[in-house]
Amino acid sequence: MNDIKQVPVVELKDVTRTYRQGDVDVNALRGLTLTINKGEFTAVCGPSGSGKTTILNIIGALDVASSGKVSVEGKDLSSLNRRELSIMRRDSIGFVFQAYNLIPVLTAYENAEIVMSLQGIAADERRNRVMDLLSEVGLEGMEDRKPHQLSGGQQQRIAIARAIAANPAVILADEPTANVDSDTADKLLDIMETLNRKRGVTFIFSTHDPKVMDRARRIVRLIDGRVVIDENRKNN
């Protein structure tokens, strides 16, 4: 992989994040520098409270760094206003949260389609992409089910399909497997990995499960808001 020219998608430089809690300052991130390149499949791991969620939220323009520089696709997030951040989340970022990602009143199909609708993509194109993706995540025939008629793992697959359908620069998944059993977790990772390989989608996911970590090609380990290990694994 090292011979191919690497395109940075996410760049963090000396990023700190301090939360004020009552009278004390909590330093969730203490000067974090990290570059994620296009097509990478990265796990962010570390003990509870090490800053995994915080870093994903900052990359995803949901939270704001206290200092340092954050850019996605070369755009400095601190220079964007509320509206532009919203458009950034819609067009450049895909989110998969731990659970309950879907809009309960929409069907599986509509959930997978919704971000594309927000982007203004034509109905035909939306239909093609959704049908392809639903079969790729193994949910064909379940288009009309509402989220409450799907298992937790199936809901996560729809969330992944939704994120990919919108064609973002990076998909951020905060402990996407924490709420499902290990077999289901394995299958979700298979799906993510396949999509990453076939489509070149950039994934950053957090986990503290060593088995999940093992599936990543790059592992970033955080402790106390700092990167302590950043290793590329053999491309298996």
């Binding site: 659970a99 929409l106 939704r162």
Partner: protein
């Protein structure tokens, strides 16, 4: 996406908590029902009362001597009744024009003397459309000609006088010089209205007989009464007619002639507005509560939506669309719930005799029918629909604003 998809989502969202939504919609529907029926009763009653007042008094528009309102004497007359009548009839709102002499008289028989009001009319020109009590003649009939020798008395008055059909009575009045003049008449009709003021204090005389006694010319009278199509146009018609009817006269609307009744009606309309505001507040509180609670329950969902690319504005619009749906479904249900009772009350009416009593009631000398009908003015119905709609949208504003202010990082943590 925006328009259509948000609308569909909003529609599905309002049905997520069926019980709450049904309650809210019922309260909107019930509020609409109350507002329409109460306004409908008022509109219809006032129209009827005003028309009745017009048909008992001087019409919707009265033309009389300009000082008569303050100094009602027989010296203050209109001397060109025929010309005024002719020109008034040219106005397309005007349906009937009649000439009358009204005033006070003392009626005597062997048994005694009683004061009463009198109205001298042309029997060939008047019927119950211009003088409602004509249909309350329970014995005898209307005069044959304007020179008739008859007199029609209220039932109670006749009883007090000990007068029966055909009895001879003497009526005394003051002429334009202040001299006492008298006439002789035979009782030719008895009126029973149920309104005590009328039954014990009114008499009707043929106009030309009275003209002769008072020394009026055949073109002279106390008032020209004008009846129009729609009582609410009285003011405009009065304005138009006043331009034509000369400087010696005053052209007045029914409410200027009958300020007591006008006062009663404006008081009742004030009451109706209070009632409608109360309904609006109830509707608003119901919708606000439903939307606010449902927004607070969905903060995490809104957080997720914002994270995947919904803008704050689109979440605001989503909740506004939810209130729009609630308002529309509420209004439609309101219309369905109201239609049946409304048509029943509009056509058959509700007989309130049991509550009011056989004696009837009167306001400012105008008898009120014991049967309640509804008949809402179209613009009032539109006003109610508009008010419900606007109330709904205003109630949605704060919850919608709250939805647009969701901070995803804070809410997504809430599982």
């Amino acid at each position: 996406m925006e328009g259509s998809n948000l609308g569909v989502m909003a529609w599905r969202n309002i049905w997520r908590n069926l019980r709450r939504t049904v309650l809210t919609i019922s309260s909107i529907a019930f509020g609409t029902f109350l507002a329409v029926i109460s306004t409908g009763i008022q509109d219809r009653n006032f129209s009827e009362m005003i028309d009745l007042a017009a048909r008992m008094g001087g019409g919707h528009v009265t033309i009389q001597h300009k000082e008569y309102q303050d100094y009602p004497t027989m010296s203050r007359t209109i001397e060109n009744c025929k010309e005024i009548t002719k020109s008034a009839l040219k106005d397309k709102q005007v349906k009937h024009v009649v000439t009358r002499i009204t005033g006070h008289t003392m009626i005597s028989t062997a048994k005694g003397s009683y004061g009463a009001g009198f109205m001298a009319i042309d029997p060939l020109k008047e019927d119950d459309k211009t003088l409602s009590i004509i249909k309350n003649i329970v014995k005898g009939s209307m005069f044959a000609t304007s020179m008739d020798r008859g007199i029609i008395l209220g039932e109670r008055l006749a009883k007090n006088l000990g007068a029966k059909m055909g009895s001879k009575v003497v009526y005394t009045m003051t002429d334009r010089k202040g001299e006492i003049v008298r006439g002789l008449a035979h009782v030719s009709g008895i009126i029973r209205t149920g309104a005590p003021g009328i039954d014990s204090g009114l008499s009707i005389l043929p106009i030309d007989s009275v003209r002769k006694i008072l020394g009026f010319s055949e073109n002279e009278a106390i008032q020209v009464a004008v009846f129009i199509e729609d009582q609410r146009k009285s003011k405009q018609v009065a304005k138009r007619l006043s331009k034509k009817s000369g400087t010696g006269s005053a052209t007045l609307t029914w409410n200027e002639v009958n300020p007591e009744l006008a006062g009663f009606i404006s008081m009742k309309i004030g009451g109706a507005i209070f009632m409608e505001m109360l309904i609006a507040v109830l509707v608003a509180a119901g919708i606000f509560n439903t939307l606010f609670v449902s927004v607070m329950e969905r903060l995490r969902e809104f957080g997720i939506m914002m994270a995947i690319g919904f803008s704050p504005g689109s979440l605001f619009r989503l909740v506004m669309l939810e209130s729009l749906w609630l308002g529309l479904v509420g209004l439609v249900s309101g219309a369905i719930v109201t239609a049946g009772p409304y048509y029943y009350l509009a056509s058959k009416g509700l007989d309130m005799t049991a509550m009011i009593g056989e004696g009837g009631s009167e306001v400012a000398g105008v008898a009120i029918s014991p049967i309640f009908h509804v008949g809402i003015f179209p613009e009032h119905a539109a006003l109610i629909a508009g008010a419900v709609f606007i109330t709904t949208m205003i109630s949605g504003l704060y919850p919608a604003w709250r939805a647009g202010r969701v901070v995803p990082v804070d809410t997504i943590k809430l599982v």
